[in-house]
Amino acid sequence: MASQWCFRCAAMAREVMVVDGCGSCNEFEGVSRRGFVGLASAISVVAGLEVFAASPAAAASGRNVLVVVSLRGGIDGMSLLVPHGDPAYYKARPRIGVPRDQLWGGDGFFGLGPALKPLQRMWDEKKVALVTATGLSQVNRSHFDAMAQLEMAGSGSDRSGWVGRMTGASALADKMAGVSLTRGLPTLMRGSSNTVNGADLNGLRLSGLSAAYPSEVAAARRKFWSSMWGEVATSHPLRPSALEALAVSDTASSVVSPTSTVKYDGGSGGSFAAMARLIRSGVPVSVGHIEAGSWDTHSGMGDGASWMGYSFGSVASNIDAFFRDIGDSASRVTLVTISEFGRRTAENSSGGLEHGWGNTMIVAGAGVAGGRVYGRWPGLGTKTDVDSDLQVTTDYRSVFYEVVSRRFPGVSAREVFPGFAPSPVGVVTS
């Protein structure tokens, strides 16, 4: 496999294998993710909780939620939504094209790849839709630039992200209006004091406040923090953040909800499960963000069916599990996937795909007119050069613009996406 940028641990490790991440981040992965799951059950067992915690935030539990799923690395949208009716598709991918007999759903032109099979229940219930040929309006094949552009979505020199702008709106104002279950505050969450991040919910706690320590340690540490920072001069540059930090830490600590019987698949499962817990516990989150997988598939995609079936199938099953897990809350939660670019139409000599342009977005849950494909198919080029990549006909912002304006009536989508004139997509109708 080609050497890759490790999306999990940013700069420290970069010579990594696709999907697995690098050595050092795997080590930490084990620590945080498994630690988190284990701890979550420990809390439930100890407290014997079998009902939703009556958190102070529960009053806000009726608010709508958008969950953004970042598929970093540039996922191949054409293995998810396969344009089998375009003659160029199989010609360009003799080895890795998804065989026609493995497709399902769709129509005479498109078919859904086996990787999406776990979403069949939601597809049949018209709860999930696909948008084709989406992405940045200008082609950008750099992971970093493309991600930054995607997440800033037209911000100026302030480098704020669109979710940051969204959660800065007074209608959503709350300390945890935006929660990214990731390492590092992603660009899309920047520019607001209402967004927080942590690889898991324990990451949002003051040291000493987790279940790893006895309760008297937690109480002493909490008291220390609030008195020390409460009494410091109001001119101290970190005082506001420190006092917010305690509120965030307390809110994160109040996230106690019943252990779920819903099973998640490995990999991204921990993040989906944590997001579900967050929503069920009544934390007033409006936008959640998680990262699932890494998709820089320059080589070794196998025969298409198997590779994507395996790897994305896991994410698809976690999306399905997530919606089952949140139960009644599903009526207020909309989930959208996004990736910085799609991949080249023609396969390369290593059975993989180079960086391309147009991609597929998955839109699922509340307000979605599902069971069908949206967007305009521009037709594939026939050459192997970059210009025969799938062209973008729907700016990804049009999809999010629709979500924001339909699902969050108190927020000005115009301010979230400054200077952008959306075109109607139709995927979110209520």
Binding site: A11, V31, G35, V217, A220, S241
Partner: protein
């Protein structure tokens, strides 16, 4: 018997906390031995006359750091990657070096002329880039600008090899980030400068080469600079001339001096100070040491005493490492840095892992970039992990080849048994460089579940001791400089 450590005066502490990666009692002895804050500062400016065995030892522990780019490229495997070693050696040197002003200034320039370790492309060139920037950190701006612009690390990072005049990436960053700033140049300027960047070819052996055949010729008139640009063989000289011209433009002077004033004086630096600095620049051709001497002796700097600047995660983490780490020995401290990354990146702000931020604008110099709840929460967790050698949920981390301070190394000298009150007093004097109030002593003692009047010895439960010290690092007094 308990004897309190001496603490610096307000101005001594001000100079030490602004121009180092964090106060230590050794710094105070150095300062007083040198004859006071100004004498210490001037001595620090003569960095290479200060012996730096610990800083040198830090570098020696990283085998990739002594290699040239062709040597790195010839390695069958790059693991451990030069970029990891580069980041790690920078952390260790910043923590342990006796040339603190030099290290701070290296960080300052390295963040202005930013090359990320992300993306791997610049990887083989990072050791030489850091070494070169270190050598020049206290020289003059034109020389720094010429060096950084021409260096293969920067050229690879900003993809300015084998480019035609249509590639505007590096030219734009040169004008926007490295010199003039946004709004001080036009699109036409970018296009003209792009011509001056043509002709460099990247060779697989890691040595950049200028190929006259690739030069885009024709007159270039930009920002008051003119060149006929008619001789393809003279391309490198023409670019160097332009850079010298650009380095001394008033807008460049103002932008760079303002950035210095922001780092060392105030988030919103007084215009009067920036103007003073640009005057020194004009008189000395951008002599870094002369500009810093003007800054540290200015009334504006003196007026910024007790107007604290929030510590960035790097200042916080490296400052804490200064207290825990005794030496990096001949081993390597990669693990320490991974742990630091783990906390900045996993739980905090990825921008602040050393050179982890992937964009050419460097990590944020503005407090708004790091004053977030997540960053503070991860800071508390980092402090605990660093002090105890154990992440909250994880296994202990091995600091290969490192010598770290244990409980007894933090203990007050010559006092086997002290009261908790005395112990907290000692730790605060040692870490904050100031004596805590009775209230602060009580707050920190309570955070570890102790009464101030209790007697304790170095045999006290370790975990309790580390909670005490965590409190000292988690406090508002530590998180500013």
């Amino acid at each position: 018997m308990y004897r309190p450590l001496p603490v610096p005066t307000r101005f001594e502490r001000h100079v030490l906390s602004r121009f180092t990666f964090g106060y230590t009692p050794e710094l105070l002895s150095d300062l007083r031995r040198a004859g006071g804050p100004y004498a210490w500062f001037d001595r620090q400016l003569d960095a290479f006359s200060i012996p730096d065995p610990k800083g040198d030892a830090a570098l020696a522990g990283f085998d990739r750091m002594g290699m040239s780019a062709p040597e790195i490229m010839a390695l069958p495997y790059r693991n451990p990657a030069p970029s990891h070693q580069d980041a790690a050696s920078n952390v260790v040197r910043r923590a342990l070096s006796s040339r603190q002003v030099h290290e701070v200034m290296h960080d300052f320039w390295r963040n202005l002329f930013y090359v990320s370790v992300a993306g791997a492309s610049a990887d083989p060139f990072l050791p030489s880039f850091d070494a070169g920037m270190r050598r020049r950190a206290l020289t003059n701006f034109p020389s720094l600008l010429r060096y950084a612009t021409a260096h293969p690390a920067m050229r690879t990072f900003l993809s300015s090899y084998n480019v035609g005049a249509g590639n505007e990436n590096h030219p734009r960053e040169l004008l926007e980030l490295h010199t003039l700033g946004t709004g001080k140049y036009t699109e036409a300027d970018v296009k003209s400068v792009a011509k001056l960047f043509t002709g460099w070819a990247y060779h697989v052996n890691g040595r950049p080469r200028y190929e006259p055949g690739g030069r885009v010729l024709g007159p270039v008139r930009v920002l008051g600079f003119y060149s006929a640009n008619s001789d393809p063989a003279r391309g490198p000289q023409v670019l160097a001339q332009f850079l010298t011209h650009l380095a001394n433009l008033p807008a460049t002077r103002y932008a760079v001096c303002r950035r210095l004033a922001k780092r060392f004086v105030s988030e919103r630096p007084p215009h009067s100070l920036v103007v003073k600095l640009t005057r020194t620049w004009a008189r000395t051709d951008g002599d870094v040491r002369a500009i810093l001497r003007t800054l540290v002796r200015s009334e504006e700097f003196r007026a910024s005493v007790d107007k604290p600047i929030a510590k960035s995660p790097q200042y916080d983490y490296i400052g804490a490492i200064r207290h825990k780490l005794v030496s990096a020995g001949s081993g390597n401290a990669l693990h320490l840095v991974s742990v630091m990354y783990w906390y900045t990146d996993v739980l905090g702000d990825a921008d602040h892992g050393v050179y982890g931020w992937f964009m050419p604008n460097g990590y944020g110099e503005d407090v708004s970039r790091w004053a977030t709840p997540s960053v503070l929460l991860s800071s508390t967790r980092f402090h605990r992990a660093l002090l105890t050698g154990r992440r909250e949920y994880g296994s202990p981390f091995e600091l290969d080849g490192c010598v770290v301070r244990e409980v007894r190394d933090f203990w007050p000298r010559g006092a086997a048994v002290v009261t908790v009150s005395q112990l907290v007093d000692h730790l605060c004097r040692r870490v904050w460089g100031r004596a805590p109030s009775r209230r602060e002593i009580w707050q920190i003692a309570s955070s570890a579940g102790l009464l101030t009047s209790e007697s304790v010895s170095a045999d006290m439960p370790e975990s309790t001791f580390w909670w005490l010290l965590s409190g000292v690092f988690d406090a508002p007094q530590w998180l500013v400089r």
